[in-house]
Amino acid sequence: MAVIKTENLTYVYGEGTPFRKVALDNVDLSVDDGELVGIIGHTGSGKSTLIEHFNALLKPTSGNVYIDGERINWDDKKSLRAIRFKVGLVFQYPEYQLFEDTVYKDISFGPKNMGLDEKEIDRRVKETAYLVGINEDILFKSPFDLSGGQKRRVAIAGVMAMEPKVLILDEPTAGLDPKGRETILEMIKRYHKEKHNTVMLVSHSMEDVAKIAKKILVMNDGKLFCYDDTEKVFERADELRGMGLSVPQITRVFNRLKEKGIDIKDDVYTVDFARKLVEKVMEMKK
């Protein structure tokens, strides 16, 4: 069952001005419930414009968006509020949006707006704090006293606590050190595993996407270039390079080994898989 579906989705910025730009061009897409999707594309390819349609922040110039089977109706303002509870969007550098005086209050802001009762809010705050690795003793501190990585996790928890059917994160690891990146990715994986909700993540890091996404959506110049399984997408290394993207370093290594005539699979995109593959080949030859 498709949780997000678009039909001929087109969005034009600055219509009627010299700066007119087609940001989305006839995008037809269908994402099944429960997927973990990586969204990649060069700067200006339409990634952000696309995800901003998924929770009704932008109104299409033409075409339709369906969330959970229901067409978004921009004339019915009340229904838009429900969409925003269903699709949670975490912007880039979400820690700049923290504002409450305690971590607890900040995480509970979304659930409170949903009109949940105190008990349920409390359960959600504690559960998501645990999911993102924030200890209970931090909950009553000011979010502004935390480290950069912690702040970001609190900000993400605030959206997770709304338990959206679809959680979308725009570059959640940007600007973090390798350990911080790893922590955020692990936490997204854990959330996906425990909640079985759909998660979409926009990233410029192919290594990060390769590590967690089962499927990849590639945007190029406002068009949907492809939406497919991770290994199928990285097989198209040449085309990705042509649009200013890249594939993980390890994928390039195995592509080149194959070009040099070594008989080996080349749909390799994680270090773990690469090691197992080399060892298997060596075993077989013995």
Partner: protein, 286 residues
């Protein structure tokens, strides 16, 4: 080689006077580091390890509470030398949007020169040269906000370059860029270093960028824990992981294969080296 920047036994603390009594956070104590003329140094370290604070001590944005920093023999504590120091050591920050001030690319590049009172003909010449060096000359009449992230960062670099600095400090200049933008910026940095002899200090979280430097300096909790050629640094996989850093995927693959006794060269840090080593390994078994 001649020393260009000498940091000798410097200590630096931030003091938060909003608190009562004021809270002091020590970033580093008794730290020493030399940067040689013409060198390309990459600085690694997790968030909060003191990299940026150290970089800001190198062009007198931060003045250490004790110790001495000499830039080309000039003390950063000498107010008379402040302008000379800032002109010979330029700084590029992470977010391109925070460092562009004008509404036309070439005016932005000319900003510092106008402040320095350089005569107009000379400004024209230097701005053109700087824009040509970073490959942005044909965009000289464009509006900066219409450029991509990588292009904006190159304009920011051109603005520094126009002052003809001997050294450029870059604090995570590629953190917000897509793969293509990152490549453009790194290529520009390397060319400035090789062709124009500009000393480069690059703070980064990207291991594939650090691999291309002459020397890598690793910081952890305010201390310099390693300083060596990239090959020597990255072959110490376990040590780096212990302090929350990462290694290139190819180095990690070689390391994990060597754990199982494959005996590959542990100093493999580039894609080319890895392809060659695996080719030899797998070829011998075909």
């Amino acid at each position: 080689m001649e020393k260009f920047i000498e940091a000798k036994n410097i200590s630096f603390s931030y003091i938060n006077e909003m608190e009562e009594p004021p809270v002091k956070t020590t970033v580093f104590e008794n730290l020493s580091l030399d940067i040689y003329k013409g060198e390309f140094v990459a600085v690694l370290g997790h968030n909060g390890s003191g990299k940026s604070t150290l970089a800001k001590c190198m062009n007198a944005i931060n003045i250490p509470q004790s110790g001495e920093v000499l830039v080309n023999g000039m003390s950063i504590k000498d107010p008379e030398k402040l302008l000379d120091i800032r002109q010979s050591v330029g700084m590029v920050f992470q977010n391109p949007d925070n460092q562009i001030v004008a509404t036309v690319v070439e005016e932005d590049v000319a900003f510092a020169l106008e402040n320095m009172g350089v005569e107009p003909g000379e400004i024209r010449r230097r701005v053109d040269n700087a824009l040509k060096t970073v490959g942005m000359y044909k965009y000289r009449l464009h509006a900066p906000h219409k450029l991509s992230g990588g292009q904006k960062q190159r304009v920011a670099i051109a603005g520094i370059l126009a002052m003809s600095p001997e050294c450029i400090l870059l604090d995570e200049p590629t953190a917000m860029l897509d793969p293509k933008g990152r490549q453009e910026v790194l290529k520009t940095i390397k060319e400035l270093n090789k062709n124009n002899g500009v000393t480069i200090v690059l703070i980064t979280h990207y291991m594939d960028e650090a691999v291309q430097a002459d020397r890598v300096v690793v910081m952890d909790n305010g201390k310099i824990v390693m300083s060596d050629k990239p090959k020597k640094i990255f072959s110490r996989v376990k040590k780096l992981k212990d302090i929350g850093l990462d290694v290139p995927q190819v180095t990690e693959l070689v390391y994990s294969l060597n754990q199982d006794g494959y005996g590959l060269d542990p100093e493999i840090i580039t894609e080319d080296e890895c392809v060659d080593a695996l080719y030899e390994l797998l070829k011998s078994n075909l």
